[in-house]
């Protein structure tokens, strides 16, 4: 059922967006003339796009036909420039088609669209190629799963990355697979790491200049986190950056990035370090989401997650570098800088949501290249891209209480709960408004600690997280001005929010809820402008694309294992109706 909510003029909000607006309008007009027929085989504004070139990937941010990157472009802005679906027309947004996948389970895929073909994945590493205009299946690839898969939080997959004639995907049994985009046949696969030790893959890789970049899950199993680069043609390992250096001790930081005392017992930690040595080999620090790539400076930016074990810190003395950090390397995986939000974390309030590159105001009001990250703490952090330093953090987007009380055996209540704040969900930005759009979770928990030695690749939490079942849970969509740190608008949602956000040149923000609502908000005011009730939780990031002059919005409706939202198996595409 599509519910018309309200429409409002959108032109007044555009500042820098007018040039893009005109370009995409011309583009729409041109494509409509050329592709009046049913089929779009090849040939768009950029010529034949069946093969994804480096140039196409580089200019994806201004490409209003395709959706080539997990998060829209190398800057990971999730800002889609097309304007056909806008504040004036969104009330006419209707379902164009629904595709039902074989697997009904947690669905986190970012649909990728290349020249009228859509690539989506489901839990357990199934991949589909669909006609993006009709939703008709072209091929279906099922990964032959090995006997050992080790994953926390559902058998998820967040999508493929297209490059050349290939699609690249990470698998639950910790492999990297290259699939022929035209046929759905596997070209090669490589073992990335040992699943018996807790490694697995749910993120989509990022490909740049012939290198396939991928991190790893496993922070709940005592892995040693990494980002690896593989040769896109052969699958050969090119380099490994360990997110945990051999000296993980750091500077014995006593306060978090926002200046709050983390109540560390530094003397006890120093004594433990003397006794046990550096814990780097099993210290966790997974990278769950794609890296931002600065093509200008040749730098990568990615996040490293929680230390292992999550709640029991006594066994892992020191700051536990570079867990809970923004990290930057060069294109060969050489360390450049990092910023740690929470040293020696014992709450799993880590850094997961993918970083975004954009121009920001520094402390003196000067525009500099910046990096944004939404933390499980409930803050958006704004960094200087040059040295990773923190410029500012936003006001809290969710209630924070009792931070940083130390976990106990009986459990201590602290807000946010361990799922955030901002979970893995990617944010979106609209640079013309200086706004970041962020989805948040409010899920009260108690934190319990229990001394536990390394269990050899088994789940290693060092205690337990317990949801306070009697307390209300909810979420919000928040627009944060990253140049001031202030919240511009905030919409409370029925469900804790997990999935992802898409902002568009039409002045809209698209996102979904666990109760199956897929919604569009006015990106300047937060006003709800459109919604559709789907059959399962909408907990996947939306994408947008254009076929034959028609703009589509697409999203997965399949629920979520981590938050136990109703499962489903649908990919739903929307376009304007009459």
């Amino acid at each position: 059922m599509t519910i018309q909510v309200k429409k409002k003029g959108y032109r007044s909000f555009v500042k820098g967006g007018q040039v893009i607006g005109l370009a995409s309008l011309l583009m729409c007009a041109a494509t409509q003339n050329i592709y009046a027929d049913e089929e779009v085989k090849a040939g768009t504004l950029y010529g034949n796009m069946n093969t994804v070139t480096q140039r196409m990937l580089d200019r994806a941010g201004s490409d209003a036909n395709n959706f080539l990157h997990t998060n829209g472009n190398y800057d990971q802005t999730r800002f889609y420039p097309a304007e056909q679906i806008n504040r004036e027309t969104v009330d006419k947004l209707k379902r164009a088609w629904i595709f039902k996948m074989e697997i009904t389970d947690s669905l986190e895929t970012s649909p990728i669209i290349v020249d009228g073909t859509m690539y989506v994945t489901s839990s357990f590493n199934h991949v589909y190629a669909l006609d993006a205009k009709t939703g008709k299946e072209k091929w279906h690839y099922k990964h032959k799963m090995g006997p050992i898969t080790t994953y926390c939080c559902g058998p998820n997959n967040r999508g493929v990355f297209p490059y050349g004639g290939m699609l690249y995907m990470g698998t639950l049994d910790a492999k990297l697979v290259a699939i022929d985009a035209a046929t759905g046949k596997k070209a090669w696969e490589k073992q990335i790491a040992d699943p018996e030790l807790g490694y697995s893959e749910t993120m989509a890789p990022t490909v740049v200049d012939g290198k396939v970049l991928i991190g790893t899950n496993g922070g709940e199993y005592g892995i040693r986190g990494f980002v690896k680069a593989f040769d896109a043609a052969s699958g050969k390992l090119l380099w490994t950056f360990h997110t945990i250096p051999e000296n993980s001790v750091g500077v014995w930081a006593t306060h978090d990035a926002t200046g709050r005392d983390m109540l560390r017992d530094i003397e006890a930690e120093k004594a433990a370090l003397k006794k046990h040595g550096d814990p780097y080999k099993t210290l966790g620090g997974g990278t769950w989401q794609n890296m931002a790539v600065d093509r200008e400076s040749g730098r990568l930016y990615f996040m490293a997650g929680n230390p292992s074990p999550d709640l029991y810190g006594a066994i892992r003395p020191g700051d536990n570098l570079y867990t809970n950090s923004l990290i930057s390397t060069d294109m060969d995986g050489k360390y450049v800088c990092h910023f740690q939000y929470i040293a020696h974390d014992v709450w799993d309030l880590d850094a997961v949501s993918p970083p975004i590159l954009t121009k920001v105001k520094d402390k003196n009001g000067k525009m500099v290249k910046g990096v944004l990250h939404g933390g499980k703490t409930g803050h958006v952090y704004v960094h200087n891209a040059k040295d990773c330093s923190l410029i500012r953090h936003s006001e809290a987007m969710v209630p924070q209480e009792n931070m940083w009380v130390l976990p106990t055996k009986k459990g201590k209540r602290m807000l946010p709960g361990a799922n955030g704040g901002v979970e893995w969900s990617p944010m979106a930005i609209d640079p013309s408004q200086d706004l970041a759009y962020v989805m948040n979770i409010h899920q009260p928990m108690t934190y319990h600690v229990e001394a536990t030695p390394y269990p050899g690749g088994k789940l290693w939490l060092g205690g337990a997280f317990k949801v306070i079942e009697s307390e209300e849970q909810w979420g919000n969509v928040t627009a944060v001005n990253y140049n001031t740190g202030n919240i511009k608008w905030q919409v409370k949602t029925h469900q804790p929010m997990i999935g992802g956000v898409l902002a568009t040149g039409g002045g809209l923000v698209f996102t979904g809820q666990g109760n199956g609502l897929f919604q569009a908000f006015n990106s300047s005011t937060g006003e709800l402008m459109w919604q559709d009730q789907t059959n399962a939780g909408v907990n996947a990031p939306p994408s947008s694309y254009n076929v034959g002059g028609t703009q589509y919005i697409v999203v997965g409706s399949g629920g979520n294992a981590q938050m136990n939202f109703k499962r489903g198996n649908e990919i739903i595409a929307y376009k304007l109706g009459n």
């Binding site: 389970d105 947690s106 006997p147 050992i148 898969t149 080790t150 994953y151 926390c152 939080c153 559902g154 058998p155 055996k409 009986k410 459990g411 108690t446 319990h448 600690v449 229990e450 536990t452 269990p455 088994k458 789940l459 290693w460 939490l461 060092g462 205690g463 337990a464 997280f465 317990k466 949801v467 306070i468 079942e469 629920g559 294992a561 981590q562 136990n564 499962r567």
Partner: protein, 201 residues
């Protein structure tokens, strides 16, 4: 109960040492389980034909995933998991055979039980499941995976005892379960055991 356990134990040792429960003629040449057929027969004594246990205190093995079962057998062997019956039995079997036995049970069909939970039990059990975030690892239909056991349709008595064993640190080979069940009352554990035993997808 004690008599039944004793009987079971005697049968087990008798069959494992006699070693010739299945005659050579019945073995298929390419049978990858040939080397463990007689040992499997021992398992069936308590865990039922092909591991589809009908005795409420013995877990259903048929249809659990291979790697979960293999890890449990390894843990019995190393002493990480202790059980008066299983520990001495597994101690005399080589790891490669344990692996094969786990594979065998992994390939069988899950039959479950016909246990039905009352609406009150379902409601009370669901609260525990939500508080413990059980589905994050055991998955939405509680079918488990290679690391976590299937819970849906397992015997109530076995589930209840296992969770209490975790709580009381009688079972210690999955540490987060010790911490988690330490926070639940015996009544809550009973409720969630009934909810899971009767869970239908």
């Amino acid at each position: 109960m004690k008599t039944r356990k004793l009987k079971c134990l005697i049968l087990l040792f008798a069959s494992i040492y006699s070693g010739n429960v299945i005659s050579e003629e019945n073995r298929i040449a390419e049978d990858k389980f040939a080397s463990v057929r007689d040992k499997l027969q021992t398992c069936f004594t308590c865990h039922g034909e092909n591991g589809a246990s009908t005795q409420p205190t013995y877990p259903i093995l048929a249809g659990q995933e291979f790697y979960y079962l293999y890890v449990q057998l390894k843990d019995f062997k190393s002493g990480l998991r202790e059980n008066a019956i299983m520990s001495p039995l597994v101690a005399i079997i080589e790891k490669q055979d344990l692996r094969l036995m786990a594979e065998y049970f992994g390939e069988q069909k899950w039959l479950g039980t016909d246990f039905t939970a009352s609406p009150e039990q379902i409601s009370a059990g669901k609260k525990v499941v939500d508080a413990g975030q059980c589905v994050a690892c055991h998955l939405g239909a509680f079918n488990g995976n290679s690391r976590n056991p299937r819970l849906a349709g397992q015997h109530f008595e076995y589930l209840n005892k296992t969770m209490l064993d975790f709580k009381n640190k009688q079972r210690n080979n999955a540490q987060p379960m010790n911490a988690l069940f330490g926070t639940f009352s015996d009544d809550e554990i009973k409720a969630v055991s009934k909810y899971l035993a009767g869970f239908k997808d």
